[in-house]
């Protein structure tokens, strides 16, 4: 498919703004660029078709099953979009006088209040723009807490080796040393290792529960107690909040500070990688350190983003919370768990699970044996699924499971979808067993085959250039 630049023809394009109705002011030539930016020139018809074609070459939740583990690809309700498109939200300047933005303030206040209730926290900020941004913010609160107590020695953050990569990266961004502790074979926190790791330099622990294997750590209260007794605080990575919302609260498990991914748990769309929103909640004793919004507050950790956060994303999350309400939230959580377990049971017929027994919202399969004995990998299965119209599970994560495929069906899939998908997963498995070699050619039905990633990284081509187009001719 051609790039938009290759469809560009001088002199085409629609007129969107009228001619200037004031005198034209010419800036001195010394301020001006030498050459105009080579942006496309294209008729609106061709532009429209270009993006329709691009859309056909992409895959979203609307196209089919999307069991991408850890990403909670649930259905994105349309009312959320309608609410965010309201002129009274979309056309509001972020620096309007307070008495003209009462509706916006209410959206923020209501969302904060509801999220506090759902998580068991006392205060919430909606400023962070994403989950990782929320982690950064939350860990700053912990850092600030120790600093305000004059306990400057505490600069170590404990992170299990099964964690999301953002956790250790966040520790580093906060000037902390990361102490990685091994998990038990089942992926739980190893209590003995944790006890050995905590000391008077421990700033805190970052943990997701359910963990990245989709298991709820039953020792959770003991874990938070060990950290607290050593003087550290506990940070909850809310990436896996979906199966427990309305059922168990991080605040009740002993966590002091959390983030939520509104684009996962609260149904705002992922948009091909963003925008998301990452709410950060904390207990009362940390509330004074939260980022400030309009007015600088004395002990605040500062501003983490301009203005008031990803406001329209927050509007969508609020619409979702209002739709589900107090009954719908736990019901959705439990259906996410039921769907995951049902799907796991169906796949267990052929696939080896990293853990036996019930899971929460997601589970991890391992293709380690198949890779060693038959020569096909988790990647091969994933690529085989692509040919069958299914988005594959998350591959090669968590790092503690070899040849991992991590599946999270979410609560919005039907039993029929799960059964149909399971049949495809099992067929692809059979095909791989029959002819492992052929799997390396997969996918075959997609618009392109496996791209050469080594070439992409060795000789990066990161933008279109005219000369290149001529070469290709």
């Amino acid at each position: 498919m051609k790039l938009i630049f290759e469809k560009s023809r001088p002199g085409t394009g629609n007129q969107y703004i009228p001619a200037c109705d004031t005198a034209v002011y010419e800036l001195d030539a010394s301020f001006l660029r030498e050459q105009e930016a080579a942006l496309p020139e294209i008729s609106e018809n061709d532009l429209s078709r270009h993006y329709s074609e691009l859309e056909r070459r992409a895959y979203g939740v609307n196209n089919g099953f999307y069991p991408l583990g850890s990403c909670t690809m649930k259905y994105n309700p349309k009312i959320n979009e309608a609410a965010a498109a309201l002129e009274g939200f979309a056309d509001i300047h972020p620096l309007q006088p307070e008495d003209t933005v009462r509706g916006c303030r209410k959206v923020l206040e209501l969302t904060e209040k509801y999220l506090c209730e759902i998580t068991g926290m006392d205060a919430m900020t909606l400023a962070p723009a994403a989950g990782a941004h929320g982690e950064f913010t939350g860990m700053m609160l912990i850092r600030k807490y120790h600093e305000m107590r004059g306990d400057s020695k505490r600069n170590k953050v404990i992170v299990p080796d099964s964690s999301h990569g953002t956790n250790p990266a966040t520790g580093t961004m906060n000037g902390m040393q990361v102490v990685s502790i091994p998990s038990t074979e089942d992926g739980y926190v190893d209590l003995e290792k944790l006890r050995e790791a905590v000391n008077d330099e421990t700033a805190g622990l970052m943990l997701t529960n359910p963990n990245t294997l989709g298991l709820f750590d039953k020792n959770i209260c003991e874990i938070t107690k060990i950290v607290h007794e050593a003087g550290g605080l506990c940070y909850y990575d809310g990436a896996n909040m979906n199966p427990i919302m309305g059922i168990v609260r991080p605040g009740d498990m002993g966590f002091d500070c959390i983030h939520l991914n509104l684009h996962k748990t609260f149904s705002t769309p992922h948009g091909g990688g963003g925008p998301g929103a990452g709410a950060v909640g904390c207990k009362e004793f940390l509330a004074g350190y939260l980022p400030y919004d309009n007015e600088i507050t004395e002990n605040s950790c500062g501003k983490v983003r301009s203005f008031h956060g990803s406001f329209l994303v927050i509007v969508k999350a609020l619409a979702y919370i209002l739709s589900l309400g107090k009954e719908g939230i736990p019901e959705s959580a439990s259906m996410a768990v039921l769907n995951a377990n049902y799907f796991k049971a169906l796949l267990s017929e052929k696939y080896t699970m990293a853990n036996e027994g019930f899971c929460m919202h997601e589970f991890v399969m391992t293709l380690e044996k198949e890779q060693k004995e038959y020569g096909f990998s988790a990647l091969d299965i994933a690529k085989g699924l692509l040919d069958n119209g299914i988005h594959p599970p998350t591959m090669y994560f968590p790092l503690i499971v070899h040849e991992a495929l991590m599946a999270e069906p979410t609560e919005t899939e039907s039993r029929q979808t799960l059964e149909e998908a399971a049949r495809i997963f099992l067929d692809v498995y059979d095909e791989a067993m029959r002819d492992p070699q052929s799997m390396q050619q997969k996918p075959e039905k997609t618009v392109v085959g496996r791209p050469d990633e080594v070439l992409a990284a060795r000789k990066p081509v990161l933008r279109w250039q005219e000369e290149e187009a001529e070469d290709e001719v």
Binding site: R33, K106, F136, H270, F307, L312, E331, P392
Partner: protein
């Protein structure tokens, strides 16, 4: 109650039977029983879609939408072609995840590749990433790109947007690094002070142009000072202005960052927005966030992939320089559609009208006694004195459906005009001011 579940009671029964449990709560057997909530959440009952629509409409109705806007200060009202909303509402773009599976994500990947190219064109830089959260975090990430073990200080001009400075300070505080500010002189960076501030420990200099007060800065002078000190220049730029102004690359900047909101994103009470980041080839491997590259599949078809991933948190973990994993793909999509729709000439025209209308507005305001405070050339914003009580002025304008300029701490007013402001609007506002005061 809207629940969006797809499993009915009969199916639920079948599923539970298959799992050999009688209730979904049996699946929570690992959760300590005393942790399970014993009462419903303190939330309202679920609502039908019609009710949710009403509540949201009521909330939106409590906000004031102004017919005429003369306020910018980091968020700008520009005309958004109708096609931008239409394309951004396409369900697949809306509901896709990060394009990890390249074979079924060529559409998203190609759209980002095109966006990267357009940002390179606007800024003149050689490499762009797929975007970050907003302009302020883009500046903070750019500062982190420049630091190393020996050079830790980043010098920031006081003429930058205060929101950006605040975020840069937060990021620096977190990573135990220092931000030093350099004062303004007549509304632009005091280059003498910048020169004396730059030293061996300077990692980078950050200057915004047009700056917070609308003035066009001498980026070339700033680049020279930075480079002479062995530091990098980070230029904060306004994307519409960039259609006509000298590019950061031409000025010698190593990194260009900015707020992409003017490129087809509504004001939205401040978000979601779009941080763009572009740099020289030399700094490419330090650029944070997602980057899309062009390669080929086995048959030689052009194919796009996320590339240079070994820089990122999911691989480097604690050794990554940033924890960012998202980009603002849907916002970047909007920006790309906006730039393609407006086109080479359309953006140039929008930029020229911004300059023209802002200068017309400035002249008219001067007639009404609002004197311009600084002497240097400006793009589409400028600061004036206010001969009257600022609250009164803003109230009169507001009563007439006009959002006036932003009142600064010193009682001056920061005005903005774009192609959206007609001559008639400007004349009407100024005669109103003359009439009332």
């Amino acid at each position: 109650m809207g629940s969006y579940l797809s499993v009915n009671d009969a199916d639920r029964k079948v599923m539970l039977e298959r799992l050999g449990v009688s209730s979904v709560m049996d699946l929570y057997r690992d959760v300590p029983q005393d942790l399970i909530l014993d009462k419903p959440l303190g939330l309202p009952e679920g609502k039908a879609e019609m009710q949710v629509g009403r509540v949201m409409k009521e909330l939106a109705g409590e906000n004031r939408v102004y017919g005429t806007v003369f306020r910018g200060a980091g968020a700008y009202r520009h005309y958004i072609p109708a096609i931008v909303d239409q394309v951004a509402a396409k369900e697949t773009f809306l509901t896709a995840y990060t394009p990890y599976q390249a074979e079924i994500s060529q559409g998203v990947l190609q759209s980002i590749f095109e966006y990267q190219t357009m940002i390179c064109e606007l800024t003149g830089m050689e490499v762009s990433n797929a975007s970050v959260y907003d302009g302020a975090t883009a500046a903070a990430e750019a500062a982190a790109m420049c630091r190393d073990r020996k050079k830790k200080t980043v010098i920031v001009s006081e003429t930058v947007n205060p929101e950006v400075l605040a975020v840069m300070k937060t990021y620096s505080w977190a990573s135990d690094n220092e931000i030093v500010t350099v004062p303004a002189k007549d509304g632009v960076t005091d280059m003498d002070k910048l020169l004396s501030a730059a030293g061996a420990d300077t990692a980078a200099v950050y200057v915004q142009s047009p700056n917070y007060y609308g003035c066009i800065e001498d980026l070339e002078a700033a680049a020279k000072i930075a480079h002479d000190a062995g530091a990098k220049l980070i230029a904060g730029v306004q994307p519409i202005a960039q259609a006509i102004l000298k590019t950061p690359y031409e000025c010698g900047a190593d990194i260009a960052v900015g707020e992409g909101q003017p490129l087809g994103l509504p004001l939205s009470y401040g978000g979601p927005y779009l941080g763009f980041m572009a740099c020289t080839k030399e700094m490419m491997r330090k650029l944070p966030g997602r980057i899309v590259g062009k390669t080929a599949d086995e048959k030689g078809n052009a194919a796009y992939v996320l590339t240079l991933q070994a820089r990122e948190q999911h691989i480097r973990r604690e050794k990554a320089s940033s924890n960012i994993c998202s980009n603002e793909a849907l916002c970047a999509l909007r920006a790309a559609v906006y730039m393609a729709a407006m086109g080479r000439e359309g953006i140039w025209e929008a930029a020229r009208q911004c300059v023209s209308k802002a200068h017309y507005l400035q002249g008219k305001l001067a007639e009404a006694g609002f004197e311009r405070k600084y002497s240097g050339e400006f793009f589409h914003e400028f600061v004036t004195s206010c001969p009257y009580d600022t609250n009164e002025v803003m109230k009169v304008l507001s009563d007439n459906d006009i959002l006036g300029g932003l009142v600064l701490d010193g009682g001056e007013i920061l005005w903005c005009a774009t192609e959206m402001n007609t001559k008639e609007e400007i004349d009407r506002m100024v005669s109103l001011l003359k009439e009332v005061f």
